[in-house]
């Protein structure tokens, strides 16, 4: 049996360790395995590592490996192989996309065949989740030697790489020697990059593919209304916000920030932008993120109160703002929506949809100066692929996260938050970490450095009868356990 999948982007590389893109992680999910993986709800599950533990101050992590696993090229999987992969990730001179995730690794030891010890330079409580990141795959050491991993991937997964025609298709076929004899259950999986939404859905509806990965919300109903197909929908990890540039005088006043949150109707936002597929945020991080804690009070809409607050802050006549976003149709819709909503408190918005590369240049370019950057509001969505609160709160809300370094576009800086984030990293104890992150979330929620907009749903379309091809809350997909019911 063959399964065909339409993806929303082209593939960039076949080496997940060197990629920042969900499509690359997703397509290689069946070829490579990680030490630790996520289940459907972002819970940690063993994969190539069967057990793991950390020392008290989160500077040393020890993993026990699965036995009897071989790579597609016959190389045995063992501690040396893991060491080779982790050292590659930690070696900053490799210029891999994911090197910076591992810059705190000091050394990796392989005391025996099935044990790996990771020593860190400094405490890093989020290490286990980092190891579960979909980029942290295990390459065959032999293929790493060869150096052609970016277009000839060799892993341990239930599928082996068959062929890649960039821009056209990518095919993987069943690995008969997979360590879990129950899998794989299909003969091959073929991926097509189809950036055009409508085309992707048309391919599903005309049975050219059995799965569409990233189903735009507007078209969900289209798929649902047909008996032969189903919509998979999971609440995602992405929280959409419009960061308020706190280097601008008017956003230094908490009343103004509160007014902005009050005037925006999040329910309407979901309706307009996501055709109702999503939820209103109840915390700076998404419910599926580890250590999420719902905050009080819930977001509400009260235009009258917002006007009063603006009045009190001395901005009764409003002011002019510039809003930046990407130029895709979803974010352009967000822009228009915000513009309309803000007009209710006399705020006159100029909206600026930026083309991808231009945007990253203007937000993350080396000459970006937080003091002079022009935008008042910047729309963005952040999802922590590690599934851990750290990789959301630290880049987006900590002082060290100021753009262009990371993703703090509000230039929000708060000692409590910075302290809590650091505290949580210094331990591997889940309870201690949870407490620290709760503190941080509470503070951010109170300060409202951004207009909280939505947690969108990750949706995919699937032909009925296909199982095991699933969409993850972090936006990636998994297909190792694909099967077709008769």
């Amino acid at each position: 049996q063959d399964i065909k999948v339409a993806m929303d982007q082209v593939f960039h590389t076949l080496d997940p360790q060197d990629s920042n893109y969900n499509v690359d992680f997703s397509s290689m999910e069946g070829v490579f395995e990680r030490l630790i993986s996520f289940d459907e709800d972002m819970g940690l599950v063993p994969q190539l590592a069967t057990e793991w533990e950390a020392n008290e101050d989160a500077t040393q992590f020890t993993l026990t490996l699965r036995e009897g696993v071989v790579f597609h090229d016959g190389t045995p999987f063992n501690a040396e192989a893991v060491k080779a992969n982790l050292e590659r990730l930690a070696d900053q001179s490799q210029n891999l996309a994911k090197n910076s995730m591992f810059n705190m690794v000091d050394s990796v030891e392989a005391p025996d065949e099935t044990t790996v010890v990771i020593n860190l330079k400094e405490p890093f409580g989020a290490m286990i989740n980092t190891l579960a990141h979909p980029a942290v795959v295990m390459h065959s050491p032999a293929s790493l030697e060869e150096g052609d991993v970016s277009d000839n991937p060799v892993g341990t997964g239930p599928f082996r790489f068959d062929e890649w025609v960039p821009g056209e298709q990518l095919r993987v076929v069943a690995n008969e020697d997979y360590w879990d004899s129950e899998w794989p259950k299909v003969d091959s999986v073929t991926f097509y990059p189809v950036p055009e939404n409508a085309t992707r859905v048309s391919m599903l509806l005309s049975d050219e593919v059995q799965f569409v990965y990233v189903l735009p919300a507007e078209l969900a109903e289209n798929v649902e209304s047909n008996d032969n197909y189903e919509v998979l929908s999971r609440e995602g990890l992405t929280v959409w916000t419009a960061a308020m540039n706190m280097n601008k005088e008017h956003f230094q006043d908490p009343k103004v920030r509160e007014a902005f949150n009050l005037v925006v109707d999040q329910e309407a936002f979901l309706q307009v932008v996501y055709s109702g597929h999503g939820s209103v945020p109840d915390s700076p991080i998404a419910p599926n993120t580890q250590f999420h804690e719902a905050q009080e009070p819930a977001l509400s809409t009260d235009v009258e109160r917002a006007r009063e607050l603006m009045e009190e802050a001395g901005y009764g006549d409003g002011f002019e703002v510039e809003i930046w976003a990407r130029n895709n149709s979803t974010e352009v819709r967000m822009l228009q929506f915000l513009k309309q909503q803000l007009s209710q408190i006399n705020v006159d918005a100029t909206v600026l949809p930026l083309e991808g590369a231009t945007r990253s240049e203007r937000l993350f370019g080396s000459n970006v100066n937080p003091e002079t950057i022009e935008y008042d509001l910047a729309i963005g969505g952040w999802s922590p692929s590690t599934g851990d609160a750290d990789w959301h709160l630290r880049p987006v809300y900590a002082t060290e996260g100021f753009i262009p370094a990371m993703y703090n576009m509000a230039f929000y800086s708060n000692e409590v938050v910075d302290g809590a984030v650091a505290e949580a990293l210094a331990t591997a104890d889940p309870e201690a970490r949870a407490a620290a992150y709760a503190k941080a979330q509470e503070q951010i929620w109170a300060d409202q450095p951004a207009i909280f907009l939505a947690v969108d749903e990750k949706m995919a379309g699937r032909k009925k009868g296909v199982t095991g091809v699933i969409k993850m809350p972090d936006g990636t997909m998994q297909y190792s356990h694909a099967a077709v019911e008769e």
Binding site: N197, L219, N222, A268, V272, N327, N328, T358
Partner: protein, 303 residues
């Protein structure tokens, strides 16, 4: 032979000639154009759309930006003639308000391109030599660049916005006009009547403007009127790429491109109505163009 000599040999014809006056080429052109009903009707429709666009805010019950989240994506009905969009805005109101802008974009951008292109083509064809080489090589360069890309580049460099969209479309309309006019000019400048004008002492300006240009205009007009459609659509592509006018502005191209997301979801009215608006406008421009073209050709008058 001086005017004073006229009375000597004057015949009764001179008496009647007091009352007549030879119409210039422009006057003749208007006279012939007036005979073309269809073209005039097309012109009136265009004018009506354009003027209505100014009246729209005072006449229509909805403004182009009045949002209504309770009534998003409604199909055409008695209250919303062309339905509503994803923000619950009245599409008819947006269309009418957008007419001004879309027609302006279509007409101005092509107009600018045509104006420069015509001048460049005339000069290149007439003088030849290095002027010709440079103009044509430049146009080769511009031509060889796919138009949409050029527009993307220009807008990416100059930034999005109305005037830059116009510039972008103008620049990539330019070489086509230059080519069309140049090839016509090359043929006409060898014609005997151009030589006759020169022999009569006409300056180069007069020769180019009065004797060569009108001869090249028929192709120019056909291209011009077609191009208006293309240019509104280019604005569409630019909007789609997020490089067009500000997204909330009611502009036909932008409306089309944002409506596209809802096409497959069955919300056809989001794209059909702006499409129809563009179609009618372009059709009128073409009908008018045909009329202009025929009015330029005296041989067609009697049939």
């Amino acid at each position: 032979m001086t005017p004073t000599a006229t009375p000597d040999t004057a015949t009764p014809g001179t008496a009647t000639s007091e009352t007549r006056r030879t119409r210039g080429p422009v006057g003749e052109f208007w006279r012939r154009l007036r005979q073309r009903r269809v073209a005039l009707a097309a012109m009136l429709i265009l004018l009506a759309i354009y003027l209505f666009a100014f009246a729209a805010p005072y006449v229509l019950p909805y403004g182009p930006n009045d949002f209504d989240y309770l009534n998003t994506l409604q199909g055409p009905s008695a209250t919303h003639w062309a339905g509503t969009d994803e923000f619950g805005r009245d599409i008819f109101a947006r269309l009418m308000n957008g007419a001004k802008l879309s027609m302006f974009i279509g007409f101005t951008s092509v107009g600018i391109g045509a104006a420069f292109g015509i001048v460049a083509g005339l000069l290149a064809g007439f003088y030849g030599g290095w002027i010709d080489s440079i103009t044509m090589r430049m146009s080769d360069v511009l031509f060889a660049f796919p138009g949409v890309l050029l527009a993307i580049g220009i807008v990416a460099i100059l930034g999005p916005g109305l005037s830059n969209v116009i510039i972008a479309v103008a620049i990539f309309s330019l070489p086509a006009f230059a080519r069309i006019v140049r090839s016509g000019t090359l043929a006409l400048k060898e014609s005997t009547y151009v030589e006759a004008a020169r022999a009569a002492g006409a300056s180069d300006m007069v020769i180019m403007g009065r004797h060569i240009l009108p001869g090249t205009l028929s192709a120019v007009i056909v291209y011009f009127t077609m191009r208006i459609g293309t240019s509104i659509l280019t604005a569409t592509s630019l909007s789609f790429l997020g490089l067009g006018v500000e997204p909330s502005i009611a502009e036909w191209g932008a409306m089309l491109s944002t409506g596209r997301d809802y096409m497959l979801a069955g919300e056809w009215h989001l794209t059909v109505f702006p499409g129809l608006a563009i179609f009618i406008t372009v059709l009128c421009f073409n009908l008018l163009g045909d009329g202009l073209r025929d009015a330029l050709d005296p041989k067609l008058e009697q049939t």
